[in-house]
Structures are given as C-alpha cells and as structure tokens.
C-alpha cells in the first residue's frame, strides 16, 4: 500500500477531446490543413490528432489485450498485480513491498511519508495469512494509521502511536470477511521520526531496527511464540526462530485480537544511520541487527537503493513470504 493511492483504472481519464490547433487550442477537424480560428498551418498526418488517450496497457509478455479477468486474451498469461511489487522513493526515505516467490498475492502493506528532512512516518502491516481477507486488512490498517501519526505531529509521540494503532484497529474490524478463516487481521509496526527522536510501536512480529556505525539494535520484541520461549529462557533465539511455531503471533490487529494496544519504545538517534522497518519476509533471513547492517555494507547509499537491496536479499534467500522493507536514511541527506 502506498501513501499515494493508485488511480483506479478508468476513473481519472481526461475528458474526450478531438484534435486541437497547436497554436490557439481551438478544436480542428481531422482532415483540416489550416485552423479555422487562427489560420495557422496544421501538422499533417497522425500528429494532428493529438492529444491521444493513453492506451490501455497490453500484456506484459506478448502485448495482447488483457481481459477484465486479468488474463491476456492472446497468450493467456495472468498479468502481474501492481501490488505485487511497490516502491516508494521519497529521497532520504524509501520503501519496497514485494509479493515474494511463493505467495500468490502480496498481503503486506506499507505507508510512508517524509514531509520534511528529519521527519518521517512509516507503517508496515503484514496480513495474517490464516485470516480472511488478510490483504485488505493490512492495507486498511496502514492507510488508517499513517495519516493519524502525521496529524498528531505536535503531540506526545507515544500517545500518537497508540492513537494510530487504535485507528488501524477500527479500520481492520471494518474489513469484511471473505470466505473462510479467522477475522481479518494483520500485524502492525509504526515508526515516527521527529528530529532525531524515534518512536516505534508494534503488535505482532513486524520489526524496526536502528543500524548505525555506533551500534546496531533491534528496537522491537516480537509478540510471538518464539519471543515468549526466548523471554522465558526455554529456547535460544536461533532455536526458537527455527521452530515451526515461531511465527505464531500473540499480538495483532483484528476483531479477535487479545489486546490491540501496541508496545512502544523510544530512542534518541545519535549520529547518522538507517532505520529499517520491515515484515518477517525480510528478517526471516537476517534476524540479527548486526547481520542486517552487514548486508547494507555493500548496498547503494541512498534509501531506495538500500530498501531494494534488502528486498532482493530476501528474494535471493528464497522469498518464501511477502517482503516489505522501509528505510529511513538518517543524518546523511538531512541537516
């Protein structure tokens, strides 16, 4: 999910216009050689009949016309969903969301806004795949939480995160159930950066990291079976995360959520570094903060380059889940 909603196909088309005179803009006939209004010479041939309506894009493979059902009417191939791969590049802040290689749809969603240098809001939600309509749940949560966090810029950031989570919870509860499965639900992680102060709130196992030359830290503690085992001292982190039950989460947004109040943490960011907000599609392959930082050593310095690099790493590692990565490049291109 992006901060700038994609125009719905067919909803924002330009009004139908015939050819116009390039000199005065008055309508002209298809066959006219001169403008009836100003007398200017009109270009001949196809150039005279502009502007043209944008063509409906053809099949990505063969160029054939695509049917309403999303399949090419010539070669039959299913056309990619634009949500399968989304990129947001806001300069020092960027996000990438990718379907991965094994899931049929991308049930992750992200919200990202960076209204001025040093100030950003990032939200990542991961639809719970055993729940009904998980993709819609994640999208609704991210869309609801992001603007709330932006609007509460002057207030206590911890309270703002809680307010954003509450708005997201209301949005998820309103998502209709489709078919079988539990109530629509998703994870939630939100990061609000204000001039060096980073506030993070979360429910579930989507994460935030702070990676900097002065130290790499994971900022969140998963609401998950694995984290409970580690906290209780039953299993090591490595053993817990390798367990089949590792991804059973104990906190989420949704009508059946036990508590929809996020845990919140806050840090002062000393010096330059990168905030990484992500779904488990990334950290499954690099859970440790130092490992993640190591991966970024060879990456392009800009935020979108770093986000793409991490997403590609997850794809190259197997891409078993949807992958969403948001990177805030702090103190590099900001004063």
């Amino acid at each position: 999910m992006s901060t700038t909603p994609l125009p719905a196909p067919g909803s924002a088309e330009a009004p139908e216009r015939g050819p116009t005179c390039p000199a005065c803009g008055e309508p002209v006939g298809d066959e006219d050689r001169f403008c009836e209004a100003c007398g200017a010479d009109l270009p001949v041939g196809p150039a005279a009949s502009m502007p043209v309506e944008p063509e409906v894009a053809g099949c990505v493979t063969c160029g054939g016309a695509v049917g309403d059902d999303g399949y090419c009417g010539v070669c039959g191939l299913k056309q990619p969903d634009p949500h399968d791969r989304e990129e947001l590049d806001l300069g020092w802040a960027a996000g990438v969301s990718d379907r991965g290689l094994h899931h049929p749809t991308n049930e992750d969603a992200m919200f990202l806004s960076a209204p001025r240098p040093g100030m950003a809001v990032a939200v990542v939600c991961d639809g719970v795949s055993s729940s009904s309509n998980a993709m819609a749940a994640a999208g609704a949560a991210a869309r609801a939480a992001g603007p709330v966090l932006l609007d509460t810029a002057g207030t206590d950031p911890k309270a703002a995160i809680a307010e954003a989570a509450a708005a997201a919870q209301q949005a998820v509860i309103a998502v209709p159930r489709v078919g079988d499965g539990e109530s629509p639900s998703c994870t939630f992680v939100a990061a609000a950066l204000r001039d060096g102060e980073l506030t993070v709130g979360w429910l579930g196992d989507s994460r935030a990291y702070w990676l900097s030359p002065s130290g790499n830290r994971r900022l969140t503690t998963d609401d998950s079976w694995a984290a409970m085992q580690v906290d209780a001292g039953v299993l090591t982190e490595e053993a817990a995360e390798a367990d089949p039950r590792a991804h059973s989460i104990t906190g989420w947004l949704g009508a059946d959520a036990p508590v929809a109040v996020p845990r919140v943490t806050q840090i002062e960011l000393a010096g330059p570094g990168r905030v990484v907000v992500c779904s488990d599609g990334l950290w499954n392959y690099a859970s440790d903060a130092d490992r993640l930082a190591g991966l970024l050593e060879g990456s392009p310095p800009d935020a979108v380059g770093a986000a793409r690099h991490l997403a590609q790493f997850a794809l190259d590692s197997g891409g078993h889940d949807n992958i969403t990565v948001v990177v805030l490049a702090v103190g590099e291109r900001t004063p």
Binding site: D69, Y71, C72, G76, K78
Partner: protein, 428 residues
C-alpha cells in the same frame, strides 16, 4: 425460464515444462431461481417433435413388433404438450408421411392427437430400410419451424440396407446441428454402430429395446425428457490461448459423447461445441488443452469455457494452469478428472473387447473385458458391472480376471455395447 451455472474441477498445478491441462466442467441448468446464473428463455418454448417408425417388412416378424411400435407411437403422441408441432413418419425404402397426411407439421391438440393415433393404428409393414431417407424427410419438416427446439425419435429393427452407405453418411452430415435424435433398436437384427453413428451425430441417445413390450415405456421416458427441454441450441464456447491446442472436448456425463469433431471455429482462438437443447439437468464435460509451458511461478488461463445460448453468454468457467516446482502440488490428480478418464477408458475397453470377441480374438477380448470389469467395479458403475457379467464370467473384479462366456445372448451383448457410454457421476 432457465438459468445456467458452470463450475470447474481441476488440478491447475503443472510441473516445470508440463503442457497438458485437464478439467471437468459441470454445467447445471435449473428452473429459474435455482442456480443463480443468467436466466434465458421466457414462457413455453416452441418445439417440434418428429417420430420416425421403421415399417420395413421385418417389423411383421413377429407381428408383435409392428403392434408394439403402433402402441408406443400412440403413447408418444399422447405425451405431446398441446401446441407442440409434430409429425409421424413411416420409414422403409423411403420416408412416408403418416400424420399429417401431406408433408408438413400439425400442432398438437386433443383433436390432432386423436387423428394422429388413428393414422398410426393403420401402420402396415413392408419394404426395406433406408435410414438416411427418413432423416432427410425429418430435416425438411424441421426446416419449416427453424427457431423451435427440434427433437426426433427414430425406431428401427434392422440394418440400413436399402441405400448406399454414402447416402446414409451424407444424410447424417446434412442433419448435423439441425435436430437432436434419440435412436432405439428393437430386437437384435439392427446394427449398434449404425444407430450409434446417428445418435452421436445428432446429439441423441442410443439404446436397445430387446423385447417389443418394452417399447411403450421407453418412448414415454424419451418424450418426458424431450418435452422438458426449455432452451434450444446451447453451445460450449471454448477459448484457448495462442499456441495452445484443444485436444478434446467430451461430454462425460450422463453419457460419453466426444464433441471434438463437431467444433466450429468462431475465431483463431475460439471454437463452439454444440450441446443441443437443455431441460432441468446437469452434465459434465472433460476439456483437455495442450498449452505452451511457461516459467515456474507463472499462471496462465488455459481455457475459458462460456456457455452460449445463441449469441448470449450465460455462464463462464476458467481453466487455469500454474507451473510449480512443488511436486506435491503438480502430481495431485483431481478426483473428477481421474473418474471420467476411467469412465472413458471403460467405454473404450468394452467396445474394443466386444469387437475382438466378434473377430474371434479371444485373448484381446478377455484382456479388454477384464479391464472393463475392473474399471466398472472401481468406479462403482454397477449397471455396467451387471451388463458385463452377462458376457464374461468374473473370477476377480479387483484384478480384472475374467473368462469369456461360451454362449451369450445377442441382446445382452448389444445392450452392453449400446450402454457402454453411460457413466456414473463423480461426487465432487
């Protein structure tokens, strides 16, 4: 009014490089309000019914045959819904009008039905058998009401021997797509392959009436079904992607009927397969498409099956192909596809086994009929199992071990042959 729905049963997963896509498409026509699809056909449809009765000389041997034919035809006339256009035709070396007396159709009413039954009562046997000429007569009668639902009954007791085979084939070709014809052979002197050819070309059923006494009940059930038809000329419109080939489109329930040779091209990627007229019923179709393999992870629409009533699509089903490297997914056999593949093999094993038996090739006959016994038992096709048991001694149905019976009633053999294409329905 009738509404149609279509559902697809398939395993859409293919292994890397896999190209054969199989799907069972279940089409259900319900009285309005039932299935929830697009509704077609308001009011009572116009229908034409033509009854063709063999009156060749052999119908007098024994005389009970022609008497039973008269009674059965009278029963069929009684079953006509008032307002239906109809005619009764006597068949021998040529076709002769029985009712109405001149070439044309009458509209069913108590008065015309009584007059028709009186005319049928006068039927006498004499002459030969030229089935092609009967069909041509029926075709010209149907032509006078081109928009109506066209249905015919054809009854014969003998071989088509009073015309050249080419004339018979040409007549079949000229009638194809014009009307549906249910064929019945009475006694055991008719030829299964001839009537099967008529039924297959004209989208009808074929069956044996071993004893003339069974004729009346059989005609009544044919007429009940014919009078229940509410929508004429329904076609399956099958689209397949460029580079793909539709290997076959077969009706697989209630009977096996290969529609592949009846395809007419709509455009380069689309063909229509006729299914005739529909009442309140459900049929299954097996569609097999060869596609160009795509990369692992890609999803392709391998076929789009639209149900067409005239030019109006009334329901649609999508056949998909998804390539995967997960063998657990790609090797899974869909129940419905497996079941009907087995039923088609069963019909073929019976027909080939009986042919081998006739040709004196006992080894092949034993193998084929043994396989048939095995398939019938596995699929719970009890009707076919009973028919097979009249032709072979079953030692072990599980392994298909059988012995050919020394003496077999001709009627039993013909019944097995004609009914070999009847399938059991899969439970989805």
């Amino acid at each position: 009014m009738t509404s149609f729905t279509a559902a697809v049963y398939q395993n859409e997963y293919l292994p890397e490089g896999g190209s054969e896509v199989n799907a069972i498409v279940t089409v259900t026509a319900a009285a309005d309000g039932g299935a929830g699809g697009v509704t077609v056909g308001a009011g009572v449809p116009e229908a034409v019914e033509i009854i063709m009765i063999d009156c060749s000389g052999s119908m007098e041997q024994p005389a009970s045959k022609i008497r039973a034919a008269r009674d059965a035809t009278a029963t069929a006339v009684d079953c006509l819904r008032d307002g239906v256009w109809f005619a009764v035709v006597a068949g021998s070396n040529q076709a002769t009008m029985v009712y109405p007396a001149t070439v044309g159709l009458a509209q069913a009413s108590p008065a015309t039905k009584a007059a028709a039954k009186a005319a049928v009562g006068q039927l006498r046997a004499g002459g030969g058998t030229a089935i092609g000429s009967w069909l041509r007569m029926a075709n010209s009668l149907f032509d006078t009401r081109p928009q109506a639902i066209h249905h015919a009954i054809l009854l014969t007791d003998g071989k088509d021997e009073s015309e050249r085979h080419e004339e018979f084939v040409a007549a079949l070709e000229s009638c194809q797509g014009r009307f549906q014809c249910d064929c019945r052979g009475v006694g055991t002197n008719w030829v299964v392959s001839e009537l099967r050819a008529v039924a297959a070309a004209l989208l009808g059923t074929v069956d044996i009436i071993p004893d003339p006494s069974g004729m009346e009940a059989d005609f009544r059930s044919i007429m009940d079904s014919a009078m229940g038809k509410a929508v004429a000329s329904v076609a399956l419109r099958v689209w397949a992607p460029q580079g793909a080939t539709v290997t076959f489109v077969k009706q697989v329930s209630p009977t096996i009927d290969d529609l592949t040779p009846k395809a007419t091209a709509v455009n380069a990627l689309t063909s229509d397969y006729p299914t005739g007229s529909w009442g309140t019923e459900s049929r299954d179709y097996h569609v097999c498409v060869q596609v160009k393999p795509a990369a692992v992870g890609a999803e392709m629409l391998a076929g789009r099956v639209s149900l067409m009533v005239g030019d109006q699509p009334v329901s649609q089903a999508l056949i998909k192909a998804i390539w995967t490297d997960d063998a657990a997914l790609s090797t899974r056999m869909n129940n419905a596809v497996a079941h009907y593949t087995g039923q088609a093999e069963l019909a073929q094993a019976i027909q080939e086994g009986l042919e081998a038996r006739k040709a004196g090739d006992e080894a092949t006959a034993t193998t084929k009929l043994g396989r048939a016994v095995q398939l019938a038992a596995q699929s719970g096709n009890d009707a076919t199992t009973r028919l097979l048991a009249k032709v072979v001694e079953v030692e072990d149905a599980d392994t298909g071990t059988v012995h050919l019976k020394r003496t077999v009633e001709t009627a039993d053999e013909m019944a097995l042959d004609t009914r070999s294409t009847k399938t059991t329905r899969v439970k989805h």
